[in-house]
Amino acid sequence: MTEVETMARWVAPGARVLDLGCGDGGLLKHLWKTHAAHGYGVEIDDAKVIACLGNDVNVLQMDLEDGLAAFADRSFDTVILSETLQAIRRQEPLLREMLRVGREAIVSFPNFGYWRARIQIAFAGHMPVSKELPYQWYDTPNVHLCTLVDFEALCAKLGFRVLERVVLTGGAPVSLLPNLLGALVIYRVSA
């Protein structure tokens, strides 16, 4: 099972979707084709924005750090933040904004509690570099890495309800010791 399949399962047919950090718009295009779900992507990178236009995906070139003021309250069914949370400078306001403009949020991120990451720090003594986290510490866009436990604590603090959680490693679901054995985690949350 992939991240896209997991997210698609959580999006209702015909839903209105906002994809924050949408890249080339591949997920939105998939959701449109499989679910007739329509919406908008938000992306800051010029080349990715143009790729979205090429993919016939609605895209808004905006900086997520500036918030979601362009969007009205409850104007989306689902707001997606796919593997972008860790690259945001201020998580709390963005997560609050996501559940202001959307009924539900889907958030995915690389789990920093994954055993390979732990081993690289604990035994090799250096910051983890992996398929999910391919950067060196000095050139990474990932400024706020976290683990499952950390994220769930933040959700509790913000008063969000975790509706579902899927943990994946190499495309396979993980149920045993997810914070240790899971490389990627995907949450569905609501206010």
Binding site: D46, V49, I50, C52, L53, Q61, M62, A69, A70, S75
Partner: protein
Amino acid sequence: MIVEAKKARFSEPLRLKSGAVLPEFEIAYETYGTLNAARSNAVLVCHALNASHHVAGSYAGEPKNLGWWDNMVGPGKPLDTERFFVVGNNYIGSCFGSTGPTSVNPATGRPWGADFPVVTVEDWVAAQARLADRLGIERFAAVMGGSLGAMQALQWSLSYPGRVRNAIVIAATPRLSAQNIAFNEVARQAIMTDPEFHGGHYHDKGVLPRRGLRIARMIGHITYLSGDAMMEKFGRALRRAAPGFDFDVDFEVESYLRHQGDKFAEYFDANTYLRITKALDYYDPAAEFGGDLAKAFARAQADFLVISFTSDWRFSSQRSREIVRALLDNRRVVSYLEIDAPQGHDAFLLDDARYHGALRAYFANISL
């Protein structure tokens, strides 16, 4: 691409927003490419203050007289005339061929001059719709423009919601700010206080208010460029070996502005300048909805592409974001690009690879 300017004459009167009536009028236009059998590939291009219907290509025997948006429109260009049938037009009240203050008033047999009514963006669009009827275009694949041209694209989506599939709105604003209006007023004052203006009846006196037009253009030019672009282009470079300690041209930028002003005063009409800046000042589709732009766009049916440039301080990105917000509130299909370009308002005329790449991608997805 060799192109040809044409004219369409309309003898049915046009009632203007001001209440005045234009008894008859002509629109100068050009077309590029071929209208397909389904008549589904027409794109209307709208111009800004000082441009015209000559959008692309050149006239036979005048290879240097290239259209003002030739980098955008033509065979293989972002707006590809091998796929689309592109219509360039000169709005009414302008001075490049369509009926305006320099045209002959049928009632007097003399140029309209100061008697030509004040026209609005809404009036331009109404006149353009007559041209579309004449050309057999029921619905445009896109209406596109930059700056004042973008206002026309916006207004098309409001005046004729069913006749526009895509509105491409570049370097736009939904309404002028007080600062914008202030710049326009200084330009108008420069013209109207020129001793050769004669209340707009300068043709009768056989003179032209060139000084006023020059200053108006100089002010305009300052607002079309960013401070950085101006510094980059001219710096503090001197035109002469050392400062003259007089009031002749010292700096490059002074020389540039004087040159632009001189050029403009030779080809542009003063009464036209007054009216176009008024059309800009008056444009505010939200006004009849208590200032609520989202309510104004409730009737729009088009898909939208909105593009702004970060260094544009004349019509800043914030103004474009207001348009986007209003469209989102109405759940319109919209994409928005904020291009980090240093040139200021004039960036919409340049050929930035991201800007052109975005339009190329967008047009490629317009089905015919």
